[in-house]
């Protein structure tokens, strides 16, 4: 395992220049020919939050503390996942012109897309922090633990991106299926409602959804003021590693087959 990570690191080092150029490209392309450009990274989550809080506060947030932050934490995580995996899904096909002409490690394209999404996520996270301060949540060193679910979410996103991009090369229908899937996932992730209205066993079922686990972790830290138990930590890691392993195996197995479908 350690040797594998070291090997991977050396590979990344070898392709560092390419990787940097790809990230630059993906980030530039994201806001190409828009007037506000990168500002959209900040504006779009704020508008989403505004709409959601106008619509949902009356229904769910009346007697709950920090409902806006609750919404924000959910939407932040979900948007990052969505952005990252949609980019990931397209990463092979949109680079087909290169992949079929130059012999390069294919995961580079997926990773660069993910880094571009991560930069975006980082900007949103800053806004999130500002909102927290405005909402009267005092800073605590506990917040450093936010890095834990974020780290595993990144791993999870990369894994899901591997799986989706491979599927997308093989059959294009996946883009429509994935639209439906993400919509379903949004409703199942308790972004704007509270799960305590459900019976105990149903609440536990929510933990089958990796996104819910990451969102809940963040909410516990920020709103409820405690670090979740070992079980949640384990779950975060298992979902991340599991998804990444499946994705990496699919890539390894089909590495030379993708070409025929492009």
């Amino acid at each position: 395992m350690l040797a594998a990570i070291k090997n991977f690191w050396l590979l990344l080092k070898k392709h560092q220049f390419l990787f940097e150029e790809l990230v630059k490209r993906d980030f530039k392309k994201k806001y190409k020919r828009t007037i506000l450009g990168m500002l959209w990274s900040l504006l779009s989550p704020m508008f989403q939050l505004l709409i959601m809080s106008i619509v949902f506060t009356q229904f769910f947030g009346r007697d709950k503390p920090h409902y806006t932050i609750y919404l924000f934490a959910g939407n932040l995580t979900y948007s990052f996942f969505r952005d990252s995996t949609y980019g990931g899904m397209n990463s092979l096909m949109s680079n087909a012109g290169i992949i079929t002409k130059i012999n390069l490690p294919k995961y580079m394209f997926l990773l660069s897309k993910n880094v571009a999404s991560l930069i975006n996520f980082g900007l949103t996270l800053i806004i999130f922090m500002i909102f927290m301060a405005v909402d009267g949540i005092a800073f605590s060193f506990r917040f450093l633990m936010l890095l834990y679910p974020i780290l595993w979410l990144i791993v999870f996103n990369i894994g899901a991106g591997f799986i989706l991009s491979a599927l997308f090369v093989l059959f294009k229908d996946i883009q429509y299926l994935y639209d439906i899937f993400t919509l379903m996932l949004m409703y199942l992730s308790a972004i704007f409602y509270y799960v305590d209205a459900y019976p105990e066993y149903a609440q536990r079922l929510f933990y089958l959804n990796p996104l819910y686990v990451y969102i809940t972790y963040i909410r516990h830290i920020v709103i409820d003021g405690y670090i979740p138990g070992w079980g949640t930590h384990l779950l975060c890691a298992v979902y991340g590693i599991g998804t990444l392993t499946i994705g990496a195996l699919i890539y390894k197995k089909n590495n030379y087959k993708f070409l025929y479908y492009m």
Partner: protein, 245 residues
Amino acid sequence: MLTIELQDVSVSYVVGDFSTVGLKDILIQRLKGTYKEKTFTAVKHVSFTLEKGELLGIVGANGAGKSTLLKVISGIMRPTEGSMTVKGSIASLLELGTGFDGDLTVRENTFLRGAMLGYTRDFMNRTYKDIIAFAELEEFEDRLFSHLSSGMRSRLAFSIACLVNPDILILDEVLSVGDGAFKKKSEEKMLEIIRGGATTLLVSHSLDQIRRLATKVLWLDRGEQIAFGETKEICDRYQAFLNQK
């Protein structure tokens, strides 16, 4: 010294599976029991060896498997059967002008392509000016790539790929683009690399070019290797074959 050795190399892939025919038809065929996995063999049992510094011309009609063979040698595809040894660094100019990004500027594209070809940032910083000068695109550095004419695109692609001295150079119809002056210049540059000791594989529909440049010729037809050998002999046979048609 042997640089490239192919022994009995075949490349085949599955065609007519769900991604092209559609899931519905595959299911129907499966239910009827008429489904058969069809494979298409693009390259069949090709064998040849090249010494260092040789130039192999590859001739054949469209669909003969020339480009597939080049992709195998450049490592993009893997042979399904047979074995292959390729020694040294490869610069591959497959279908120039593709794989660039129209939304980026010429400068950004140049660095990106350089990175893809495995150059270092230092090297690109040092040679960027030369690349642009060679491609004669000084006035277009900050223009969007999509604003370039197709001739300019090929010139840029050629310039980026040819500034290194690779051990193996792979050219697919490279000189059939650009205007007269650039054609001459790029050919000179290519000859310079070849004279520098690079082993070269050249696909061309211009038999004159092959006669002038190649030391060996490989003739493919619908994936089969018809002949491999001395330039004059194979070119004469190929010419005769073309005249006959």
